[in-house]
């Protein structure tokens, strides 16, 4: 086991790094298991054709919440290094909006904690996506309460 656990938390307008780059950030000779989750922009939602997603974040609060979520994960699973990258701004179809990666000695810890991190990120991080269709756009959210037609 390493003497310290590393955490990489990034919210960026840039295209996300290669998966290999992020995998290497979390890998460790003492960790036999690494799980990586990628969220990518789908080309449709409930039958409607999606052109792109526009993400907006309350960045500092998102980082603060990610740190708290990782602490919760560390209390539940024996994990080593963690990297979470979230892209903001325009993310075209097929490109990656979020990557979460966790290394651990045993596989269950990295798989289960990755699932927890991405679930909690989606529930709690102040990040919003606007789905842009051919005929308008809509801010997604638990209640789908805020529809704005034809934003372009």
């Amino acid at each position: 086991m390493s003497q310290y656990n590393k955490e990489y938390l990034v919210v960026t307008k840039d295209e996300l790094p290669l998966v290999d780059t992020i995998t290497k950030l979390v890998q460790d000779d003492s960790a036999g298991a690494t799980t990586v989750f990628l969220g990518t922009t789908r080309d449709s939602f409930q039958g409607k054709r999606v052109l792109q997603l526009d993400y907006e974040a309350y960045e500092l609060m998102s980082i603060k919440i990610l740190k708290a979520i990782i602490q919760e994960a560390r209390a539940r699973w024996k994990i080593q290094h963690v990297a979470i990258y979230h892209r903001v701004g325009c993310v075209p179809v097929g490109q990656t909006s979020v990557i979460a990666a966790v290394s651990s000695t045993h596989r269950g810890d990295s798989i289960n904690s990755t699932a927890y991190l991405i679930d909690e990120l989606k529930d709690r991080c102040p990040i919003w996506k606007k789905e842009v269709y051919e005929d308008g756009s809509i801010w997604k959210g638990a209640c789908e309460g805020s529809r704005s037609e034809k934003t372009q």
Binding site: K130, W139, C143, S146
Partner: protein, 88 residues
């Protein structure tokens, strides 16, 4: 006594306010509930509808809806309106 706070708008809230943030002058006895009234005065029912499904965060901590009427504003507070989130 009056002092200043900052209010942050995101996503659907920002579409209505047409600005990412603004500084408001408030009285020392204001709560978040009183701030809600002020914001509805300023931006009308479109923002009121958004506020109905949003949470407040004060200095980057969520405030549960049951605490809105008892949470007092302090000088230089950063108050964010958090519509339903959808990251990932």
């Amino acid at each position: 006594m009056a002092y200043q706070i900052t209010v942050l708008y995101f996503a659907a809230a920002r579409d209505i306010t047409q600005r990412p943030s603004e500084t408001l002058t408030v009285d020392s006895d204001w709560t978040l509930a009183r701030l809600t009234e002020k914001l509805v005065d300023m931006y009308g029912s479109p923002l009121e509808k958004i506020l109905g499904t949003s949470m407040y965060a004060v200095n980057m901590d969520y405030v549960s809806s049951s605490d809105v009427s008892t949470t007092n504003l302090k000088p230089h507070d950063e108050i964010a309106i958090i519509p339903p989130v959808s990251g990932g």
